[in-house]
Symmetry: none
Subunit: 127 residues, 4 copies
DNA sequence: GTGGTCTAGACCACT
DNA sequence: GTGGTCTAGACCACA
């Protein structure tokens, strides 16, 4: 499904969250698809089940999945109408900060612009 | 100089790093300017000196400041020639991740594009 | 594992760094081997855990080890492809400085040359 | 005479020591030549006189210079006969350590050998 | 005065 | 259990 990178400074559960998020966002996992069980995924990644548990809880909290006791865990369709404006602002602030750092590093204004355009063009696969 | 937000999930030293970075990037602190001494800043923020020192170390590693024992800590002009490509890639990856999150939240593609353009247009104020 | 030399002018954490580096370079600690935990090593050397942690951080930065919170610290295989040229230059500069000192001490040119050759011939033992 | 590099992590007095050592070893300053006075050099480098004082003391201790009260400080001819064997061993150990690090970084054995030869060939100017 | 190292011991997040 | 952060306070070297 995906690989963990222990050398990475990110904690394991965070990597699991990010990877699953990625799969859901890109449509590899579709809404209502069943996710692997905590135990299966923990075996597959040779990680402690509690770690997977924690990742699933985090994803549930963020609205990416939902859990039905006894049945399993399923991907969720993103809420298309009620956009969380506060969250959008938070993310915007983060991107603003990244752009600043980019320019500080010596990246020219036009290069920075190009980088952003590139990133938007990558969206092809997942609309 | 700036305020800490103890409710914030970010660690104290990380907040110090981010705030000082901001001040340097925006030109409030200019190259060769002396930063407050470890002890002074620690008093000002009512934080332990070790915590400030840790932040200063991090900034030094990232190339924002330099330290002369016995003299103090000073802001550094960013290396304008040799851009740190690895760092640029890291930041690009972070922005990519933020954009994804944005789209998942339900922000339309064109709205996301507009947000990025807005952010680029803001650059006026800090050169 | 190794001993500290409190009389030494080198700081404790620096000694820990050098000793562990030595063990990794000579293959006593192999890639992916788990290093003693911060607490264990601190007890073993009767040193404060923070001191050990600082040493581990330094080694991590230098690419000798990597850390996974909750799991431990592990030795790392050196990057065999992309040699860190800047680091090589730094080391070369250090050796240059040592050679000068040697010659100043009165060691003849040919003797200095012989010393260097000897050192290269020693490589047998640690591959 | 020479320049200080504040960005460098070395302490100021250490840089003064190293630079003067360099000048003496390479013969720019000859035996019995008078070194600049503490006050002059401190002005020239815009450094605290105490710092220069300390550097001179260190050089005197290492046998590079000698001071005659009221007259000034003078370079010293290195002791050509009584080589400090212990010091030679210490330096040898340092070089050994640097070579190991070089090889660990991925530098091939033959490249390391070439580096050492290069360093020896550089001796041209100062015998 | 400056930064750098170290200790003793607390508390937290992750596995 | 693991590492990561933080405090309070001491001591040192450098300028």
């Amino acid at each position: 499904m995906f690989q963990l990178d222990l050398k990475n400074r990110k904690s394991i559960y965070e990597q699991v969250v990010d990877n699953l998020k990625e799969l859901i966002i890109t449509g590899v996992i579709n809404p209502e698809d069943k996710l692997p069980s905590v135990r299966d995924l923990s075996k597959q990644l040779t990680v402690n089940p509690n770690t997977i548990q924690k990742a699933y809880r985090s994803l549930e909290f963020q609205g990416y999945i939902y859990t039905v006791t006894g049945l399993g865990t399923f991907a969720l369709r993103p809420a298309e109408n009620k956009i969380d404006e506060a969250m959008v602002l938070t993310i915007k602030e983060k991107i603003r900060s990244e752009i600043k750092e980019l320019l500080y590093l010596g990246v020219s204004f036009s290069d920075a612009q190009k980088i952003l355009e590139d990133l938007m063009l990558e969206r092809g696969g997942w609309k």
